[in-house]
């Protein structure tokens, strides 16, 4: 399976669309240094979908912004490499980034009302996205916009091109945002909670479009979400983030069926459908720590049932199981031998 090659840099380096190595994005605030992204590594192959899961404040969006070169002061990418299609983009200038964004790599945000300019017609915004990156006549650009709109399932695209963002519903607006991301046929699309604000049936439609797109065009997707069940149906591999670090990473089925990290296990156990109806849910005690106050050691230790004195030191990112692609950052993971004993 392609999935397993994903996490071994070197082996899949040639086919990887995106490789992130030891990325650190820190924010230098008056209150102290916030380590929003702290030593994050992963890679995505052509046509693959990576689900990046975490709660608010876990650094999942900042990881996406770092890859897009969108980190503003007081934040800075202080370490690490971002390799897009074999090209190291880490030290790019603002101009180089601009030629890359919306062209080779695109991003879709949570709130489509914030990403579309409310005073410009859809066609103006879409054509601009094309002409910014290549020399092309307006007619040809307009034709491409129309195709992109019909590709994401917007009926009567010619009329819709002439409309303003407020004339669209939430789901339609998100489709327009996706269509804009598709315009220049990017190699990678980063989706930051694109369906969180949408209704269930509309979410289903968007997931359908994205999945189709990935299969047909081979675009790689990075899907940032807090919802494990969306990732279960969509992604090839999953990375779970907690307090700026990836705490567990692996193939989707592997990770969801045999979670190793106590945090992943806690998240999965707290999903209502995994609990006996009407009985109290299994819950993770406490709340996400402030990124200013983690100190050394495992960030999850305050909420963890399995902590020992050992956890005061930062645990390494290892694969305790036979499957080398399933990695966890924990001294006391839920390994399968132990499951067999307790079962």
């Amino acid at each position: 399976m392609l999935v397993f090659g994903n996490f071994m840099p070197g082996i899949s380096a040639m086919s990887a669309v995106l490789q992130v190595e030891n990325l650190r994005t820190h924010f230098f605030t008056k209150a102290g240094v916030v380590k929003a992204v702290d030593d994050v590594s992963f890679s995505i192959d052509k046509g693959q979908i990576l689900g990046l899961v975490g709660e608010s404040g876990s650094g999942k969006s900042m990881t996406g912004y770092s890859i897009m070169g969108l980190i503003d002061s007081p934040g800075r990418v202080i370490e690490g490499r971002i390799v897009l299609n074999g090209q190291d983009v880490t030290g790019y200038s603002a101009e180089q980034w601009r030629s890359l964004r919306g062209n080779r790599v695109a991003m879709i945000f949570q709130d489509p009302m914030m990403t579309l300019n409310p005073v410009l017609r859809i066609d103006t915004q879409m054509i601009e996205a094309i002409t910014a990156h290549e020399k092309i006549t307006r007619e040809a650009a307009r034709a491409r916009c129309r195709n992109a709109l019909s590709q994401v399932g917007i009926p009567s695209p010619d009329e819709r091109l002439m409309a303003y963002p407020h004339q669209f519903s939430g789901g339609m607006r998100q489709r327009v945002a996706i269509a804009i991301a598709l315009l220049n046929k990017p190699d990678l699309i980063i989706c930051d909670e694109p369906t969180t604000a949408l209704d269930v049936t509309i979410q289903g439609q968007i997931l359908y479009e994205m999945q189709k797109l990935c299969r047909e065009s081979g675009t790689a997707l990075m899907w940032i979400t807090h919802d494990l069940s969306v990732v279960a149906g969509l992604a090839d591999s999953v990375a779970v983030m907690y307090a700026g670090k990836i705490v567990e990473q692996g193939g989707t089925a592997e990770l969801l069926d045999h979670p190793l990290h106590p945090y992943t296990k806690g998240l999965l156990d707290s999903v209502p459908s995994r609990n006996v109806k009407g009985r109290p849910l299994k819950q993770i005690p406490g709340m996400t720590p402030s990124l200013l106050k983690i100190g050394n050691g495992c960030a999850f230790r305050e909420r963890c049932m399995r902590r020992t004195n050992e956890c005061e030191v930062a645990p390494p990112f290892t694969s305790p199981e036979l499957n080398a692609s399933h990695k966890v950052r924990c001294f006391h993971p839920h390994v399968s031998t132990e499951e067999a004993l307790t079962a």
């Binding site: 709660e55 608010s56 519903s169 939430g170 789901g171 339609m172 209704d199 269930v200 049936t201 509309i202 979410q203 289903g204 439609q205 997931l207 359908y208 999945q211 807090h226 919802d227 494990l228 069940s229 969306v230 279960a232 149906g233 969509l234 090839d236 989707t252 089925a253 969801l256 806690g266 998240l267 999965l268 707290s270 999903v271 209502p272 459908s273 995994r274 609990n275 109806k277 009407g278 009985r279 109290p280 849910l281 299994k282 819950q283 993770i284 005690p285 709340m287 996400t288």
Partner: protein, 334 residues
């Protein structure tokens, strides 16, 4: 029907946008302007029994929040009757009405917008019980501490302001405020939607615990079917202002009857389904300003074409009993 706590009969809520003076003038000159009416809730019957947890599910704009507000009395219904403990609310004396309003409390979705930012927690929770004479003003601190403990907040934080709390703690403050006037019935409008997964489980557990301790009745409004399934005894599905199906929770989730319910359940992402092929319910949710004729769901329904005589387009299906305690509004059931 002696056990029913609340009964809604044929309740409708319309919001009308009156023409302004320019609009009225233009109309008198022959412009085809009309007053716009939104049928947020359209002839809904609902009975909630004592001790029951009813889940109210629907997508945005289906009128579920409006119905919740009508239930607690924040909105006055445009049409229909409301019975509280078997008594018609319209015929109640002012005192009885006030007692009813205290008994039915609401918990709002947004734990940021629903708390007064300039009040200390002590006042947010303690104001209402003092005003309503449930406690004396001098006992306020002790009473607030008791309520805070009940919802899992540290009473030492009672002098703080809402912005000093996290989202999960704010949700708890909202719950504490509702509990402070000793209600029997809580309407929870998307009470956990804004919370992170691990915090959501904590708050849901609090709801389960409170129900057991205080013998509460809930109307649990949510778009999250997983949460509703876990908590509810009975589920009501709404679409564009109308109830399309009601059934005991287990039956609804195992054998949904209405095509909309079936579609909704198929769309819910699940942890057990891997790399699934997403198939979408086609079409958008229509605007409640101009709902489709007949069955509101017919433009999106996969079965609409197979019903003889174009009935789905012309005739509104009524909510009919299809099994014990199960009702569905669909022409396919005939």
């Amino acid at each position: 029907m002696s056990t029913s706590l609340l009964e809604l009969k044929n309740i409708s809520k319309r919001f009308e946008k009156k023409l302004d003076i320019a609009g009225r003038f233009a109309r008198s000159l022959g412009a085809g302007l009309k007053e716009e009416t939104v049928h947020a809730v359209d002839h809904v019957d609902l009975t909630i029994n004592k001790g029951e947890v009813v889940g109210l599910v629907g997508e945005s704009g289906c009128g579920k929040s409006t119905l919740g507000r009508v239930v607690v009395g924040l909105h006055q219904q445009s049409e229909g009757e409301k019975f509280w403990r078997g008594k018609n609310v319209a015929a109640m004396t002012a005192d009885e009405k006030r007692a009813m309003q205290l008994e039915a409390q609401m918990i709002f979705q947004d734990p940021y917008a629903s708390l007064n930012p300039r009040y200390r927690v002590e006042n947010i929770i303690g104001e209402a019980p003092v005003v309503h004479g449930i406690i004396n003003a001098k006992d306020k601190s002790a009473y607030v501490a008791e309520v805070m403990q009940r919802v899992g907040l540290d009473p030492a934080l009672s002098r703080r302001f809402p912005h000093q709390f996290s989202g999960g703690q704010r949700a708890r403050i909202g719950i504490a405020r509702a509990l402070a006037v000793k209600p029997n019935f809580l309407v929870c409008d998307e009470a956990v939607a804004a919370l992170d997964v691990s915090i959501q489980a904590q708050v849901l557990n609090l709801f389960i615990k409170l129900r057991e301790e205080l013998n509460l009745t809930y109307l649990f409004i949510s778009h999250d079917l997983g949460v509703v399934r876990h908590l509810s005894d009975r589920v009501v599905i709404m679409y564009l202002g109308r109830v399309v199906e009601t059934a005991p929770a287990d039956e609804l989730f195992t054998q949904p009857n209405h095509p909309y319910t079936q579609g909704l359940l198929a769309e819910v992402p699940s942890l057990t389904v891997r790399k699934k092929d997403f198939v979408a319910i086609k079409g958008e949710i229509p605007s409640p300003l101009n709902p489709p004729t007949g069955c509101h769901f017919h433009p999106r329904c996969p079965h609409a074409a197979s019903v003889p005589g174009n009935k789905c387009k012309t005739e509104q299906p009524l909510l009919k009993q299809i099994a014990v305690n199960r009702f569905s509004a669909c022409h396919l059931n005939q």
